[in-house]
Symmetry: C2
């Protein structure tokens, strides 16, 4: 099944309950609807399984929406943006100012996610979770800034526990403000120079995959830059052993945009919204959220496999099969936005195709 | 590059020239536009290469359309349908009547391609190239029937040379009738119970890949059915050694829908229309067309890799990287139709994204 989940992601490792973190309970999926949807897929005028991965995708949408008449209504895309203390050490191919510059590019419509949100009819919102700049107000920009950048996690924890909890609370407020009750699909993206460094450490601590295998070129580091990034992250692990509690992990190595993504996953799942996951950093946030409440993963569709080195291993750990594999590594929600067109196709095929019986088409021989 | 071509597909092996077969010359792509498009991609606000396969895809559309302002205008989808003499021997999991039944399903809007053409805004036409039934007239059905089914190629040639040439001529007429001069994208699909058997033999003869590796389960043969299909195709090769001339190959083992697809590839390329290729059978037709005029491949985008066994090897032979890999194996043009949304995204990103200079975004460090 698309985005089905590993046993290891099926248990919470969080010392604090979702409720104590302020999150509502996530409803378990309805196995009856799932089974009925599976049967309907097999009744459609095509050989069994011939729609490939579109079939479990449509079934998942049915299960999330608890209906055999699934729809994609008023999709919303949110890009959470923040800066990272670690970025001052040179873990990215781009200067830190690009976070702020790209937020402006999102808002003026020239970024990839701006173009794709228009194309896919998704309502695009940009959230300042912790950009290291004073951003001018804009109708599509939500100020949820926790602080101008996290701290440098080589020398101290990236954020305080209170900041992390505040990021969760603001993520809930953002979702409730920009995802209307009629909306049933939320696409999650991120922007933050240096955030694949943060995500790599988090993945290492969450999965046990060797650190070197969790570290990739991000926006395009050369070999020397990649080695430097690995060495810097190793030095962060020398400061203290990585914790296992997802909240503690966020505090130590997280970013404000990553913390808000975790909050968005948990809160939107409790509202039974289908979640379209973008690339490496957003997938790490999904895994963190699943360690707080594993039911999150029932609401996730992993949009694509990024070319960022570790994403394939992370998806394998999640037992998730991404919709697309186009060699993209841009972030912003861009891969998920393209996957939205495939999700829409899966839903339309499920609801509009004729059945063998209805169309008078003969079944398989023998 | 997406759908770039192997040396072996870069030469004609046809004893008759395209002109003598009735086809107009195919213009070579413009290397200047290609280079300019490549430069523009690198100027957009994203790390170099971060849009992955969407980048060469957009460049290809520019090169085909000879412009740095590419568009997708009035896309047309054509499904060529025909029956196969070989199908009476039981090479398919479905009875032969399904070809006719599915044509009706296409026309009444209940088939996968019907749903996807609506979703993608493509104008859908069904062509009766040789269905073994008298089909009722329908405004979306074009009668180009060469004969009610090909002959059984185990005992005799599937069609005559005149029939093959007539199929080419009718394909040209179909294209000129349903692809308006403003239209710049043509999606090619097929329907024909038994046609993966025909395509497997053609692939074997064209590529030298061992026959067993060219034969797959089609619409869903079990292991015994697969063995039977292989044995039947081997017996066809025992009748006479496979020819190398693409026209002779079509005559021996082809289908009327495959012959018309070959004609459609050649004629639409001469009109400089971008061609969106569906699965295994359509890709075999593309390779046949390329053996008549290799320039065809400059106009092709391979929409997806089918789960039909041999398609991956065929795409490798063509040095083509398909847009999607969703495990689909339905035919009808369904994989190509979903790929259309990705092509559209690539084009929109190319034309609408801001440049680093225009958006005031900093370039890469160092």
């Amino acid at each position: 099944m698309l985005a089905s989940t590993a046993v290891s992601t099926r248990r919470s490792t969080c010392l604090t309950s979702p409720a104590d973190l302020g999150f509502a309970a996530i409803p378990a999926p309805d196995p009856l609807v799932h089974a009925q949807a599976r049967r309907r897929v097999d009744s459609l005028t095509k050989p069994l399984g011939a729609l490939g991965r579109l079939e479990p995708l449509a079934v998942r949408v049915c299960a999330v929406q608890r209906t055999l008449r699934p729809t994609i209504v008023e999709p919303v895309a949110i890009v959470f943006a923040a800066d990272h203390g670690i970025a001052t050490r040179g873990v990215s191919a781009y200067p830190r100012a690009v976070t702020e510059q790209m937020v402006k590019n999102f808002l003026t419509g020239g970024a990839a996610i701006s173009v794709l949100a228009r194309l896919e009819g998704a309502d695009l919102w940009i959230v300042d979770a912790g950009v290291d700049a004073e951003l001018d107000p804009h109708p599509r920009l939500l100020d949820a800034k926790i602080r101008r950048s996290t701290r440098d996690f080589v020398t101290e924890a990236a954020m305080t526990r209170d900041e992390c909890l505040e990021a969760f609370a603001r993520a809930r407020a953002v979702i409730d403000r920009v995802v209307p009750s009629a909306s049933n699909l939320l696409l999650l993206g991120e922007m933050g120079i240096g955030n694949t460094a943060s995500a790599a450490l988090l993945m290492h601590a969450l999965t046990g995959v060797p650190l070197a295998d969790c570290v990739g070129r991000g926006t395009g580091l050369d070999d020397a830059g990649l080695e430097r990034k690995r060495a810097i992250l190793a030095s962060a692990l020398a400061r203290r052993a990585a914790p296992t509690d997802p909240l503690e992990l966020l505090v130590e190595y997280g970013g404000y945009e990553i913390a808000m993504l975790v909050g968005a996953f948990l809160h939107a799942s409790s509202r039974q919204v289908l979640l379209l996951v973008d690339g490496f950093t957003v997938s790490v946030a999904a895994l963190l959220a699943a360690r707080i409440d594993p039911l999150v993963l029932d609401y996730c569709v992993f949009g694509h496999c990024s070319a960022e080195h570790a994403h394939r291993a992370l998806l394998a750990h999640l037992e998730a099969r991404p919709v697309l594999d186009l060699g993209m590594r841009l972030g912003e929600g861009s891969g998920a936005a393209i996957a939205l067109s495939v999700v829409r196709a899966a839903v339309r095929l499920f609801t509009e195709m004729a059945t063998f019986e209805g169309a008078g088409v003969s079944q398989k021989d023998g």
